[in-house]
C-alpha cells in the first residue's frame, strides 16, 4: 500500500475540523466558479483528491455531477459514510488518471496537487509523477475531435485571491484545455474588505520587520537580527542586553 494510502489520522482529524471544512468548501466554491461552466446544463467534473467529498458536496449543490479520486482509503471511507453523490475511486493520481479521453467537462482539485511534490518512496520522482498526472489529465479532459486538441498543452496560469492578506490568500492554478477564455481575475485584488469572516490578526510589533522582510537599518531590531545571524555563523558575538542598540544620548 502506498504511504498516502494511510494518510495519517491527524490529517483526517484536521480535515474534519470545522475551520478547515469551511475553508475547503469556500475554495471549492471558488474553484467551480473559476471553471466557468455553462449554467444551463449539468456538467461532469473530476475531483482530484476528493477526500471526504466536501468539494463534491458543493458541486452537487450546483447541480453538476462529479467523480472523485483520492489516494486515502480512510478519507474515502468517510466519504462513503457521508453518502456523497459522486462516484469514488481509490487511485494515485501520480500514476495517471485512469479515464478515457474527453470524458469530463472540467476538473477541480482542492489542496491535493502539492502532495505530488512529495517523494514518499524511493521510487517516487515528483517531476515524473506531476507529468504523468498532467498529461493523463489533459487527455481525460480533451475532446479528441476538436482541432484545438492538437495544441500541445494547457493554457492558463495562477489566480491569486486576496494577494494582500496573509491568512485569506489562496492560489488557484487555472488550466484551460484548448484556447477558451482568458484567465479570471483574482478576488480581493482591488478591495481587501471582503475577508471579514475570519478573525483579524495584526502584527503591530513586527511591522518594521515585515515591511520589506528587513528591519530599518541601525534600529535595535536590525542589530539584534545581525547579531543573531553572526551567532549562527559561529562568530563571537556579545550577548544581547538592555544596552544593545541603545542610542548614545549627548551629554550636556
Amino acid at each position: 500500500m502506498s504511504p498516502w494510502g494511510c494518510r495519517p489520522s491527524p490529517t483526517l482529524c484536521l480535515c474534519l475540523s470545522s475551520r478547515v471544512v469551511e475553508i475547503q468548501s469556500q475554495m471549492s466554491e471558488r474553484a467551480v466558479e473559476l471553471l466557468g461552466l455553462p449554467e444551463d446544463r449539468a456538467c461532469l467534473l473530476l475531483d482530484v483528491g476528493c477526500g471526504s467529498g466536501l468539494s463534491g458536496d458543493y458541486i452537487t449543490e450546483e447541480g453538476h455531477y462529479w467523480i472523485g479520486m483520492d489516494i486515502s482509503p480512510a478519507m474515502l471511507d468517510v466519504a462513503v459514510e457521508r453518502e456523497v453523490e459522486g462516484d469514488l475511486l481509490l487511485a494515485d493520481v501520480g500514476h495517471g488518471i485512469p479515464f478515457r479521453p474527453g470524458m469530463f467537462d472540467g476538473c477541480i482539485s482542492i489542496s491535493a496537487v502539492q502532495w505530488l511534490c512529495n517523494a514518499d518512496k524511493k521510487s517516487h520522482s515528483p517531476p515524473k509523477r506531476l507529468y504523468r498526472f498532467f498529461s493523463t489529465l489533459y487527455t481525460a479532459l480533451l475532446e479528441l475531435i476538436t482541432a484545438q486538441a492538437m495544441r500541445a498543452g494547457f493554457t492558463g496560469g495562477m489566480v491569486v485571491d486576496y494577494p494582500n492578506s496573509a491568512k485569506a490568500k489562496k492560489f488557484f492554478l487555472c488550466l484551460f484545455v484548448g484556447t477558451s477564455g482568458t484567465l479570471p481575475k483574482g478576488l480581493g485584488t482591488e478591495c481587501a474588505a471582503e475577508e471579514l469572516h475570519q478573525a483579524k490578526f495584526t502584527s503591530e510589533r513586527t511591522r518594521f520587520r515585515n515591511m520589506k522582510g528587513k528591519s530599518v537599518k541601525k534600529s535595535r531590531d536590525w542589530i539584534l537580527e545581525k547579531k543573531e545571524r553572526r551567532r549562527r555563523q559561529g562568530k563571537e558575538v556579545r550577548p544581547d542586553t538592555k544596552y544593545t542598540g541603545r542610542k548614545r544620548r549627548p551629554h550636556f
Binding site: 494510502g5 462513503v80 494515485d92 500514476h95 485512469p98 479515464f99 479521453p101
Partner: protein, 97 residues
C-alpha cells in the same frame, strides 16, 4: 460504483495502449455480466434518442445500479482491480507504476 463510471474508465498501467478499457457504449457487456441480459439489447437500437422506454432502462442500468463488491478487469492485460464498499481500488503496485 456506477456502471457509467466504469464506462469512462481506461487502464492507466504504462505500456498498455491508452483507452485499453472496453469501447464506447460498453454498458452492454457489463450489464449482461450483472445477470440482466434480457433487459437491454446487445447493441443500441436505431433511433434510441426518441425511445423513452429504452432510455429509462439504460439510465437504470448506468446510474441506479451500484456495484458494491466485485472487481474490474482490464480486457487487454487481464489485470484485476478489486471493488470494495463500492470504491474500486485503482492503485498500482511498484513495478506496474
Amino acid at each position: 460504483m456506477k456502471l457509467l463510471t466504469h464506462n469512462l474508465l481506461s487502464s492507466h498501467v504504462p505500456g498498455l495502449r491508452p483507452g485499453a478499457a472496453s469501447p464506447c457504449a460498453s454498458s452492454f457487456p457489463a450489464h449482461s455480466a450483472l445477470g440482466h441480459p434480457s433487459e437491454l439489447p446487445p447493441e443500441p437500437i436505431p433511433n434510441y434518442e426518441g425511445d423513452e422506454e429504452f432510455l429509462r432502462r439504460v439510465h437504470h442500468v448506468l446510474l441506479e445500479v451500484e456495484v458494491l463488491e466485485g472487481s474490474l478487469q482490464c480486457p487487454d492485460s487481464g489485470r484485476r482491480f478489486p471493488i470494495s464498499k463500492g470504491v474500486p481500488n485503482m492503485l498500482l503496485t511498484e513495478d506496474e507504476a
